[in-house]
Symmetry: C2
Subunit: 420 residues, 2 copies
Amino acid sequence: MGLIVQKFGGTSVADSEKIKNVAKAVIKEKLNGNKIVAVVSAMGHTTDNLIKLSKEITHRPQDREMDMLMSTGEIVSMSLLAMAINELGFKAISLTGQQAGIRTENSHLKARILNIDPKRIKKHLNDDYIVIVAGFQGYCDDNEITTLGRGGSDTTAVALAGALKADRCDIYSDVEGVYTTDPRIVKTAQKLEVISYEEMLELARVGANVLHPRSVETAKLYQIPMRVRSSFKLEDLGTLIIGVEEMEFSRPVTGLASDSSQLRIVICDVKDRPGNAGKIFDILANKNISVDMIIQSYARNQKNTNDIAFTISTEDFSKFEEIKEELINAISASDIFIDEDIVKVSIVGAGMIDRPGIAAKMFNILAQKEINIKMISTSEIKISCLIEKKHAQTAVNALAEAFELDGSTIADVKGDLPSL
Amino acid sequence: MGLIVQKFGGTSVADSEKIKNVAKAVIKEKLNGNKIVAVVSAMGHTTDNLIKLSKEITHRPQDREMDMLMSTGEIVSMSLLAMAINELGFKAISLTGQQAGIRTENSHLKARILNIDPKRIKKHLNDDYIVIVAGFQGYCDDNEITTLGRGGSDTTAVALAGALKADRCDIYSDVEGVYTTDPRIVKTAQKLEVISYEEMLELARVGANVLHPRSVETAKLYQIPMRVRSSFKLEDLGTLIIGVEEMEFSRPVTGLASDSSQLRIVICDVKDRPGNAGKIFDILANKNISVDMIIQSYARNQKNTNDIAFTISTEDFSKFEEIKEELINAISASDIFIDEDIVKVSIVGAGMIDRPGIAAKMFNILAQKEINIKMISTSEIKISCLIEKKHAQTAVNALAEAFELDGSTIADVKGDLPSL
């Protein structure tokens, strides 16, 4: 008898009928002889609706009050799922993040999980209950309610799987697995049967919304096998995510993703002096703004100044505006330039580690299509290029074809596609 | 500088604009130099919508999961109110029932408050915060979330006022005060400037939805002056509710109410044997079904059996059906008869204590209108009669006129009317 943590996303619990279907998916694994912990997101657009409501009140809500507000979405869906499972004759109990023992740091909106005390969950599992846990939320000192930020429900599921030493963590959503690239752009994109944590991590980071990178990091840390699968096609096993050491690589590039939810910010004429870059990113970090790509141009002008460019999420833009003046003053920069017309296109593959020339190939393909590259960033298994939005479709199609991600050369996978 | 607990009902916080108005009402009292604790209900029809959602899933939800579900409504409105107050430049913080230290018995849906630890609220008040508290909810052992049942937000407010030794508890809603009778039935019903706890209690119990009886009981216990007032007419002071010893009574009857949300249940042929009535009401109490009027007919038939009749809320009817068989078996009754065609009409007044003949007058008035009385119950300051639904309007009009509650003889009050 195994222990499986399941996670059901917002589209899987979007209405009462879908919640009843999720109840069946849960019971199916229970009848296989497993103990089940099911983590749920808020129903459909609930979180977005709550954010909209808050914006009708204020454009600068307190982070703490936003957490209070948003934590309700998951509580609604978890209690309804518990009722649906009970209705089908199985014992179920729903737990808030606090009741489930999910302790986070003392921070709001994007709190990290510090530890999980699984005592209460274990007790209910031993009493033969299916345990439903609110995703996306935890608690910190003084019983304050915290949320984990976007993708937090995936993180909840994987962290619980780690704390409970689960045999597997299944992430159910409206996509059937992880695809080589965005099927909305490349119609022949292929579903992968297996992918490594590392590759998934890079794909997740660069915009494949299938899984949040934090959840993949956590799964990798605890070596919990994950499955990405559809709650609407229970017979389909989706994509398995496991350690890289268990895999063999036939292709250098496994996946391709594009991300248009970022802004590029260029800080002009930063004095080339030790500590200036540190100051910039300290100020950003204090405001809890995550920075993705960073490039500092080499100081070669007479003023001995650099331009520092970086990308942030469009979500963080209003926070950025609040500290813009502070930034300019802190480092005596001449100006800040904001570029919204960017999309990040990335190729990912653990197989590229031992194969030189992949980056050159990518740049050449973009050049052939006359696409200008605004920024580049790389890791061992990923290459990302920032390009203008209008070129996104052309770039993705050309790269998919060149790196054989469009199904024309991959025979062992099949299916349709996730959203990026 | 005083301490005022304010409570805002669902219609007062029904949308973001109304929440902004409530923020102004809160700040108005704050600017008068008071410390403020504001208790909120769920927005508009939120609670009803959550119940509807649960009914799409199951008709027998677990009480615990219902509490989990319903507790979210107040958390949404309290966090939005905190944001709205902050937006206007005042410090505000919202607290769940648990964070506010509202400890209840280990029971769901209708839990009673056991005690309140006001430490955290006091700390925030001393730090000059306006403290917003979720109405209707508390917590019990194991950090389980409980709700207090209908009218629970009023109870939260008054219990907090008691625990904090507040100077006053203001209940804001869409009604402008307490009226002599239902203005929807008697157009000339009058707003009272002052009423005693005892009278309010009887009026509340018999169906005047202005205040829940539990809140009035609690206010009486702690001797907290209450005001019932409109959140849409802040200049109107509404109705003050104070101790009977501070009042003088010019009329025997202060108020008149009707309540059509009850069912009459008659258990036929209960053996006239000690303990049978106890058994019946034990079974009902174990199922958490509140019983209102109780009548046992005198055993005068050959079988030496009684009929026992009582009324329960229509809300509890499905729970009653679950124990119907158990009831019949426990006392070997011959049958159970259920009568839905009832309305309870009551007159209330502390002034009736020293004036005999009020009951006789009420019965005579109903008889003159050829209205049959199905059951009667009385207290020191209240007389209730159960009649057929079709006679409700006639009865209320006739009684209002006879007891001078229709404004024709009361010159010192004015206004329109609450919902019953």
